[in-house]
């Protein structure tokens, strides 16, 4: 059985050695939230440049999903989004 991490509360299984982005995409998760955010996260450039796929790792910092190997048990969520101020 493959190990898994959590996207918000949803378990996402991954192959050891795979990036977070790859596992999220295989699970059909393209919208990286937050819900109602002015701009929502998504995997875009795949090489760590655009920062659009940054996810918050509970208890740690935020990381680019496209560069970071998935680890078992990690709890991921959208990082705080833009506010309405600069809309």
């Amino acid at each position: 059985m493959n190990p898994c991490f959590y996207w918000i509360d949803r378990p996402v299984s991954f192959r050891p050695g795979e990036t977070i982005a790859a596992a999220l995409l295989r699970a059909g998760i393209a919208d990286l939230g937050p819900e109602g955010g002015a701009v929502r996260g998504r995997v875009f450039c795949g090489i760590g440049a655009c920062q659009a796929c940054v996810v918050a790792v509970a208890g740690e910092g935020a990381v680019e999903a496209c560069l970071t190997p998935a680890r078992s048990g990690m709890r991921l969520a959208p990082p705080p989004s833009l506010g309405l101020r600069h809309e």
Binding site: G17, V39, C45, G48, C50, Q51, G61, C66, L67, L82
Partner: protein, 433 residues
């Protein structure tokens, strides 16, 4: 190896793609110590991104690329004694005291290393010509989709549209088709058939032409329409998918798809990298697509060229003329290709997002004074102030302002966002006291 050679400072090479690995092996084979830094957990760069363990390998790239990479990696193994490889490490730039800084993502700390010279080969970023809705989930860069396809061995599910300009559209569409999900359509903004002369010039390029012909054959076989003089005008979300407003020649149409892959060419990924004047005590050179977009074949040559320049600065003879000649041919090919696909530039609509990181639209840009300084564009416009540090809005703004280099991204460190805890954990290596 002599004791002196063991203790001498290394040459830094940043980037484990073809240019960086070619530079590293050239230097190591000449007897120098090399520190090779790669942000991911293994070498390869975007072009040679390997499948995750256990993932199906749906598409292995042109044979010549595989041969080139196999050769480079075997030379790397033979020279391993002189190459210190640090993976999962991000080059953060050079601080005000001249320290070369790196974030070790595994150890969660930032470290500095003294080096004799540096070659930065961090590849390209994709150019995106913005349209309304390009910032939505479901829209991916074609290159980004390609590296994920290589890694997962699986195409995204649901209907796909590929749009923009350049040969990568063809390659990605063909790879998706072979992996089992042929795109609905490929929309190429340029109209190469109207420039037959330039096209004829391109036909003299050997391997690239063979490669393109193979992609075209795949698309024809899978019945994927390749439309020229066609582009995306805007995208919005409908239910689980995207409504894509497109122009096909002179006709406007609405396409429904789950994914839109966009790409408008490549840009050297040089935002924020400080380049000391020639003759500086510690030279910093760019190599590969990170210096000039010449493609994967030329990147290897360019890595060798940069290594030769470093060797020359250390008094070791290294002939570069044959390399320069080959790079010149690659440059001519890229120029002809750009000419064949050239399309009139258009201004974005006021509502079009320019800076995704800070949510800034084209109307926010035009509201700035016409003579606004680079600093005002950043502080007041918030362009280039976000997490991508101007890598995407920079080229857009440079084009809109008619500038050669993105003014929104001056030299800086960190070159990329860095964990605050890791930076607090900064330590100097033993060579620095």
């Amino acid at each position: 190896m002599s004791e002196l050679a063991m203790t001498e400072l290394p040459i830094l090479v940043v980037g484990g793609g073809p240019a960086g690995v070619a530079a590293a092996v050239t230097l190591a084979e000449a007897g120098l110590r090399v520190l090779l830094i790669e942000q991911r957990d293994r070498l390869g760069g975007a072009i040679h991104r390997q499948p995750a363990p256990g993932a199906p390998q749906v598409w292995r790239g042109p044979a010549r690329h595989r041969r080139n990479w196999t050769e480079l990696t075997s030379r790397l193994e033979r020279a391993a004694a002189r190459i210190e490889l640090r993976t999962s490490s991000v080059f953060l730039g050079i601080d005000g005291a001249g320290r070369f800084l790196f974030e070790d993502r595994r150890a969660g700390r930032v470290f500095a290393r003294r080096v004799r010279a540096a070659i930065v080969a961090v590849g390209a970023v994709e150019r995106i010509r913005p349209f309304e809705g390009w910032e939505l989930p479901g829209v991916t860069s074609a290159g980004g989709a390609q590296v994920l396809l290589k890694e997962t061995g699986r195409p995204p599910e649901g209907p796909i549209v590929v749009a923009g300009t350049g040969p990568l559209l063809l390659a990605v569409a063909a790879q998706l088709a072979r992996a089992g999900n042929p795109p609905l359509a490929v929309l190429e903004r340029g109209n190469p058939w109207r420039r037959p002369k330039t096209l004829a010039g391109l036909a003299t390029a050997g391997p690239q032409l063979t490669e393109a012909a193979a992609y075209a054959t795949t698309l024809a076989w899978k019945r994927v329409p390749y439309r020229t003089a066609s582009e995306v005008l805007g995208v919005s979300e409908v239910g689980q998918g995207l409504a894509i407003r497109v122009r096909l020649g002179k006709i406007e149409r609405l396409l429904q798809a789950r994914h839109l892959l966009v790409h408008d060419g490549l840009e050297p990924n040089r935002a924020g990298i400080p380049l000391p004047a020639p003759g500086a005590e510690i030279p910093v050179l760019l190599a590969g697509d990170g210096r000039e977009i010449l493609g994967a074949d030329a990147a290897i040559l360019d890595g060798r060229r940069a290594a030769a320049a470093v060797l020359a600065s250390l008094g070791q003879a290294a002939p570069v003329a044959p390399l320069e000649a080959a790079l010149g041919k690659a440059r001519a090919f890229q120029r002809d290709l750009a000419e064949a696909l050239r399309s009139p530039s258009t201004l974005p609509t006021p509502e079009t997002m320019i800076c995704r990181c800070e949510g800034r639209r084209y109307a926010d840009f035009t509201a700035l004074p016409a003579d606004a300084s680079a600093r005002e564009i950043r502080l007041m416009g918030r362009f280039g102030l976000g997490a991508c540090q101007g890598r995407f809005c920079g080229p857009m703004l440079a084009e809109l302002r008619g500038e050669a280099l993105p003014s929104a991204s001056p030299p800086r460190w960190p070159l990329r966002p860095v964990s605050l805890a890791a930076l607090a954990n900064f330590s100097m290596d033993q060579t620095e006291t």
